[in-house]
């Protein structure tokens, strides 16, 4: 009896060690490409093209980063210019889309009206249409509006493209706010504005944070519209188009390219770490009830 209990315990311990090893393996394999990007970014060029690549830089250098920052590597300007473009576009798009989706989500969560279900289903359908299916129409439309090679054009597109998912996510937050709170305030004579700002808004704020970050990441990563709209106007490039330009120019300057990619990746990674808990709920929100 005792011996079987001991052997059961050993078996459990072995299994636990096995599982942990497996977990470690999965984590290392997953991390490896990112590790390689960062490691390359810190290597001097003779180590990058060495016949026997080593995992860590033997003589770590900031040279690649300083080339990216000085603009010497890409030839079209310092990386900060493209950071500024990307941040301006994404922040403006996030602001606009948050405001519009908040209004719309109150409409679909608090009122019942004709076409409400149709509207929600329409959102589910349009969010699936990718950039490449729309790009011709978008390009012609924004050409006529004179908004190509212009950050304003990108702001409009990104703000609007974030709407379907943002409205769904926020709707699921608004629904969870008990109506009784608003009714009690209304009985006490609070105005609609007051009810909105004092009751609904604070309770939905975490949802707004989640949708804002979702909108931020989508806009920050967006490729096809920026590639098509911005064309040859280097000064308007956003970060992904800058990295693409740099990469496509040939010459294979992998050190500076990896340094630029690393800098481009850092903000998104930080955001992902902040919202890691809400991420799943939010993204599946359109599909599974949150």
């Amino acid at each position: 009896m005792i011996s079987t209990r001991v052997s059961a315990r050993t078996a459990r311990r072995t299994r636990k060690i096995g599982l942990n090893c497996l977990g470690l393996l999965v984590a290392l394999v997953t991390l490896f490409p990112i590790f390689w990007m960062v490691s390359t970014a810190f290597k001097p060029s003779q180590e990058i093209y060495s016949l026997t690549p080593s995992p860590l830089p033997a003589h770590p250098t900031l040279g690649n980063f300083s080339q990216v920052i000085s603009g010497q590597a890409s030839g079209i300007g310092t990386v900060w210019l493209f950071f500024r473009n990307s941040l301006a576009v994404t922040l403006a798009a996030v602001l606009v889309s948050s405001l519009l989706s908040l209004l719309a989500s109150v409409a679909v969560a608090r009122f019942s009206f004709r076409f409400r279900s149709s509207f929600l289903i329409m959102l589910l359908i349009v969010q699936m249409i990718p950039g490449q299916a729309l790009i011709i129409g978008l390009f012609r439309e924004f050409d006529q509006l004179n908004l190509l090679q212009n950050l304003l054009g990108l702001i409009v597109v990104y703000a609007a493209q974030a709407l379907p998912v943002s409205i769904w996510m926020l709707r699921n937050f608004v629904i969870t706010v008990p109506r009784e709170l608003e009714e009690a305030a209304a009985i006490d004579g609070a105005s609609a504005w007051k009810i909105f700002w004092r009751i609904l808004f604070p309770l939905v704020a975490p949802g707004l944070v989640a949708t804002s970050i979702f909108a931020f990441i989508t806009a920050y990563n967006e490729f096809i519209v920026a590639l098509t709209f911005l064309g040859q106007d280097h000064a308007t490039y956003t970060l992904p188009i800058y990295v693409t330009y740099f990469f496509g120019r040939g010459g294979a300057e992998w050190g500076p390219i990896m340094a630029a990619s690393t800098m481009y990746t850092i903000p998104v990674v930080i955001f992902f770490l902040i919202i890691r808990r809400r991420l799943v709920g939010g993204l599946v929100a359109g599909a599974v009830k949150g």
């Binding site: 636990k16 599982l19 977990g23 999965v26 984590a27 997953t30 490409p33 990112i34 390689w36 990007m37 405001l99 519009l100 989706s101 719309a104 109150v106 409409a107 679909v108 009122f111 009206f113 929600l120 289903i121 589910l124 349009v126 249409i129 990718p130 950039g131 490449q132 299916a133 729309l134 790009i135 011709i136 129409g137 390009f139 012609r140 439309e141 409009v156 609007a160 493209q161 379907p164 109506r179 009714e183 105005s191 609609a192 990563n221 490729f223 096809i224 992904p240 693409t244 496509g248 992998w254 990896m258 481009y264 990746t265 990674v269 890691r276 991420l279 799943v280 709920g281 599946v284 599974v288």
Partner: protein, 333 residues
Amino acid sequence: MAETAVQLPGAAARDTGGRGDWGARWGAFVRRHRIAPYLLLVPALAGIALVYFWPLAQMALYSFQNYGLPQVTGAAPVQWVGFGNYTATFADPEFWLSLRITVIFAAVVVPLTMVAGTLVGLLLNRLGPKMSAFVATAALLAWATPPVAGSVLFYWLFNPDGGLVDWTLSKLPHWLVGSTDWAGYNWTTISALPAYTVLTVLVVWTSFPFVAVSTLAGLKTVPAELYEAARIDGASPWRVFWRITYPLLKPIFLVLLLLSVIWDFNVFTQSYLLTGGLANRNEFNLGLYIYDKAFTFPPSYGLGGALAIIYTLILLVVTVGYVRSSVRQGALT
């Protein structure tokens, strides 16, 4: 509707005080006609119309015209060509090749992503809190890497000049990796099979974390007693998965499957960058084929429009499945 809810703008009208007569009358109008929800929706609808409906409508129009650069500049008149652009598309072998590549790619990547993601999700559920957080964070980093950065990074990893993969493969014994001369092997810009192999690795790497984390979230909702009972009965892990986990998580798996199909059908950024821009026609998927028709000189918005409409219709078939399964799970209630 039983009006238990507070009609917000209506309530505003009651409280206008300082805003005077006009505000009160407007408030009364909003309340009487119950247009408040529509007013709240108008800005969002305008945005959606601007970037979805209008471009789609325009492209539908172009698809029946000979619309190209001369028509844009006004050098030549716009002519209606009936279904000409559609028949030309269906007669083009490049269209069928790119469609085939798109479908095969999705058919390979979707199962790989689902299996890898589910296995990692199950693993995360079994690990201790610290190890689980570590693996989840690693997966999160892969997921968070922007498509452009990921593509450039994988291009470098699989680069014939100094790339790590070729170097590693050339050091491995031939019985393991075949007799190909791996040193300097060009993965991305020679033919479709190696290029899409790299693309498969890249896309599975970026998309398995979402499946894993969603599976984990689902597993947390399964009552522990069920697994306890199965363990006492001595059921094998395989049996436990198919008899307990799978039936309970089926709705989540279904949504993940449909989302994966749609996303993997739509991979553009990574395929554009890894196949060398639009330089390699034999590596086109549908997205690249559309882009090439529309933006490689001379642009043909008519043909491109027809293609975009065909593409959207194909997607719609999958999307209907996704919407139906969402609605059935009570997303609308």
